[in-house]
């Protein structure tokens, strides 16, 4: 089987680029793989040595396309290709709202975005689309409207990295193959350092209590809350430090929060780090903080890695990491009004109790190494791809049925009617709309006059 994998590769800042790169070694054992990226020359050489990396349109005609779809403009070309030539969609996020916004509104062209909102959510979509496109939606509205309907409908099969997303996808496209593939664990160090070694390497204080927030700092990571809590807890734990191990969204006033809380001497913001140092930061931590609200349905690679190095991880209740990891392997924090108090109480308890931290870390590591093992997950993926390939004709025919061509009057009419069915959860229902509506858009000879 020849597979074209559509995804950015390192050093792209997308976490999905790392994810895909980690799978290539295993995947190429049984499969001829090419990776399609926007700029092959920018890809790290180690990956170019492993597989053929090419631009869109330069790939050898594959038996199957695999599209790694994420919620950022870096994945726009993948999304476009997935709609043009159905394949297997690997959904790293359930919600693709920011991908759409980046491709449309942020380029000064809101119309395709408004049409997509209308197509997916009808009257509410029209109204809310206008609000969001004028930056009046806040963080919550985009989180509530995933805008993934088209990619789901146009995919032969779907791979979800969380059980939540798999369940939602199965409901959205009944009858279409859906695989829940646990997010694999990959630690790019031949041998894990000890905590002390990691701290030495990273120039972190050896005797400090360190709370680490990994990954790109965005508004959803709740770092304003974390900064205030850590500042207060320093009254009890005077060696407490906060490390933000990753880049910072330029819109986020993180430095100001740190200054206001009086945490300047006890906080470090690293900026973007390579994967090896990223893992060292996780090892160096006493507690890892991976809050996320609103959630976009993703299973965080940072959470899986932190668990894999045996650290207790605080996650937001109701998100896939909290819901899908076994009890006792992560520590959920409610995102409601009590979030700050709950975080303070849980963090205080963990910091005061090293055996408890070790116990949670051991359970987390054992679970991840068993269930999220890289070779094992790639084997499952490979088997799923083989099944999708086998059923490709049948699945392609199902997609072609009732497809509404964008930009045409017939497409517009079909989408207007289909929304009613979609709203009832009948996404996969065949409505026979071609027969009912195609006459409406045909040019007609003049009518017989009543005269």
């Amino acid at each position: 089987m020849r597979v074209a994998v559509w995804s950015p590769l390192p050093p792209s800042p997308s976490g999905i680029a790392d994810y895909v790169a980690e799978t290539l070694g295993e995947l190429t054992r049984d499969t001829a793989v090419e990776v399609v990226v926007e700029d092959p020359l920018a890809v790290d050489e180690q990956w170019r040595r492993l597989v053929r990396v090419c631009r869109p349109g330069e790939e050898t005609p594959p038996d199957l396309d695999v599209y790694h779809v994420g919620n950022s403009p870096a994945h726009a070309y993948v999304h476009r290709a997935g709609l043009a030539r159905p394949g297997v969609a690997v959904l790293h996020d359930w919600n693709l709202h920011y991908l759409h916004l980046g491709e449309t509104v942020e380029r000064g062209d809101p119309e395709p975005y408004l049409r997509e909102m209308r197509r997916a959510y009808g009257a509410a979509g029209t109204l809310l689309g206008r609000q969001i496109s004028r930056a009046l939606g806040g963080e919550i509205l985009p989180a509530l409207y995933p805008l993934n309907e088209r990619v789901l409908e146009e995919s032969l099969a779907v791979v979800a990295l969380s059980r939540t997303v798999a369940r939602l996808a199965a409901r959205a496209v009944p009858g279409r193959p859906v695989l829940h593939l646990p997010h694999h664990i990959a630690l790019p160090l031949a041998e894990l350092p000890t905590r002390a070694e990691a701290r030495r390497r990273l120039d972190l204080p050896a005797d400090a209590l360190i709370v680490t927030a990994p990954g790109l700092a965005t508004a959803a990571k709740r770092l304003d809350v974390a900064v205030r809590v850590v500042a207060r807890l320093r009254a009890r734990f005077d060696r407490l430090h906060l490390v933000v191990a990753g880049g910072v969204d330029p819109r986020l006033p993180l430095e100001e929060w740190i200054r206001k809380a009086g945490l300047q001497g006890a906080a470090r913001v690293t900026g973007r780090v390579d994967l090896a140092d990223f893992v060292r930061h996780l090892v160096a931590a006493d507690v890892v903080l991976a809050l996320r609200f609103p959630s976009f349905g993703e299973m965080s690679g940072a959470v899986v890695r932190a668990m894999g190095v045996g650290r207790p991880v605080l996650v937001t209740a109701g998100t896939p990491p909290a819901d899908e990891m076994p009890d006792g392997t992560v520590v959920p924090v409610d995102a409601g009004l009590s979030e700050e108090a709950e975080l303070e109480a849980l963090l205080s308890r963990l910091l005061a109790d090293e055996p408890l931290r070790q116990s949670i870390g051991r359970l987390a590591r054992a679970h991840v190494l068993e269930q999220h093992d890289l070779p094992r997950t790639v084997r499952r993926l490979h088997a799923f791809l083989a099944e999708a390939h086998q059923r490709k004709d049948e699945l392609s025919a199902a997609i072609a049925q009732d497809r509404a061509e964008p930009g045409t009057m017939l497409g517009y009419f079909k989408e207007e009617v289909r929304w009613g069915a979609r709203d009832l959860g009948l996404t996969g229902a065949h409505l026979g709309l071609d027969d009912l509506l195609s006459d409406l858009v045909k040019a007609r000879p003049s009518v017989q006059s009543g005269l």
Partner: protein, 348 residues
């Protein structure tokens, strides 16, 4: 017995001329021996983004038969009922969705020039042209509606005037001291223009307005503001008997809508042998009113309208009677048998 289904469009809680006309069509088809029923589908025309979907609802219905009984003929009436699919479809078009046509770009239109609204407008044009062209015949309630269909959709249609509700009861009981309007109080009827004119009228003329509608409060304020409370009277809802009496006793009817589809006021007034004052842009009424023969056609300004009313008061009763008779001659042939004959001729 031939079966007929009238396709009606319903805005729940609103009963206007179109709803009454559908009822009368149904009753007259039944009177002529057809097995007839009305298919009513609700329609909400706002926000603009919803219009296309609501229209397409009609396209999804199957009215070819009902419980095993074939439907021989469907008669759609107004947008979007004519999207129905049927092998024998004869439209009696009350009106299209005018905001997508002649009202577009006017103060009476909520559609904008945004790409979203343009798409809706284009869709309405497509739906109208195609679905109406499927008809065996297209009749319209006036020449004005037929002209719009020809201008915007290049489709020929035949005017087929609907008879007014109290046919056979209209009469002339003399020429009183008031002019009369009956109908809904909404913006397109331009009663504000008529009230403005009354401020300028020199003759001892009064204006009586029968009907209810969304503009009632605004009109009361205008009457009070202009100080014409002693000359303009809002009667509210009046019974059918009172309506006939008001036509019988008025000096003339006043009817100044903007590009009206048809307008019962003209026909009812002429059947009562009373002249009609209207305006050059009134649409439907102009198919019947001839200036200085059966009424007066003024410019759509308060000054011009006031002048026409003053002229009416200077006109002798003999001349008024002659104008009323001339009008009567224009509408005397409007009757239900003719309407039913034309709408069902494909069944013969």
């Amino acid at each position: 017995m031939k079966t007929v289904v009238i396709c009606a469009v319903q805005a729940p809680f609103i009963v206007g001329g179109a709803e009454i006309l559908v009822t009368e069509l149904r009753d007259n088809l039944a009177r002529r021996g057809f097995k007839v029923d009305v298919a009513n589908v609700p329609f909400k025309w706002y926000p603009t983004s919803e219009i296309v979907r609501q229209g397409l609802a009609w396209r999804l219905l199957d009215l070819t038969e009902s419980n095993g009984t074939p439907v021989d003929l469907v008669i759609p009436t107004k947008f979007p009922s004519y999207l129905i699919r049927h092998p024998r479809k004869v439209a009696w078009l009350f009106h299209q969705h005018r905001e997508a046509y002649d009202l577009f770009g006017t103060e009476y239109c909520s559609m904008t020039d945004s790409p979203e609204d343009r798409r809706v407008r284009e869709a309405i044009h497509t739906m109208d042209t195609t679905s109406l062209s499927e008809c065996r015949s297209i009749f319209t309630i006036s020449r004005n509606v037929a002209d719009r269909l020809s201008r915007y959709n290049s489709l020929p249609a035949t005017p087929l005037y609907p008879p007014p509700h109290e046919l056979g009861r209209y009469h002339n009981a003399g020429f009183g001291d008031f002019i009369f309007y009956a109908g809904r109080l909404d913006r397109l009827k331009r009663l504000t223009l008529a009230i403005d004119a009354m401020k300028r009228v020199k003759a001892p003329a009064k204006l009586k307005i029968a009907g209810t509608g969304p503009l009632e409060t605004e009109l009361r304020k205008q009457i009070e503001g202009l100080g014409v409370g002693d000359r303009v009277e809002l009667l509210g809802f009046v019974s059918a008997a009172d309506l006939v009496k008001l036509y019988a006793e008025c000096r003339a009817a006043l009817y100044v809508p903007l590009n009206e589809d048809y307008g019962y006021v003209t026909v009812e007034s002429f059947l009562s042998r009373k002249p009609v004052i209207t305006t050059t842009d009134a649409g439907g009424p102009l198919e019947f009113v001839t200036h200085e023969t059966s009424g007066y056609v003024a410019e759509p300004t308060p000054e011009s309208l006031a002048e026409a009313i003053d002229r009416l008061w200077q006109t002798s009763e003999t001349t008024l009677r002659a104008m009323g008779d001339a009008g009567h001659g224009r509408v005397v042939d409007i009757n239900w048998d003719h309407v039913i004959d034309r709408l069902t001729e494909t069944l013969r």
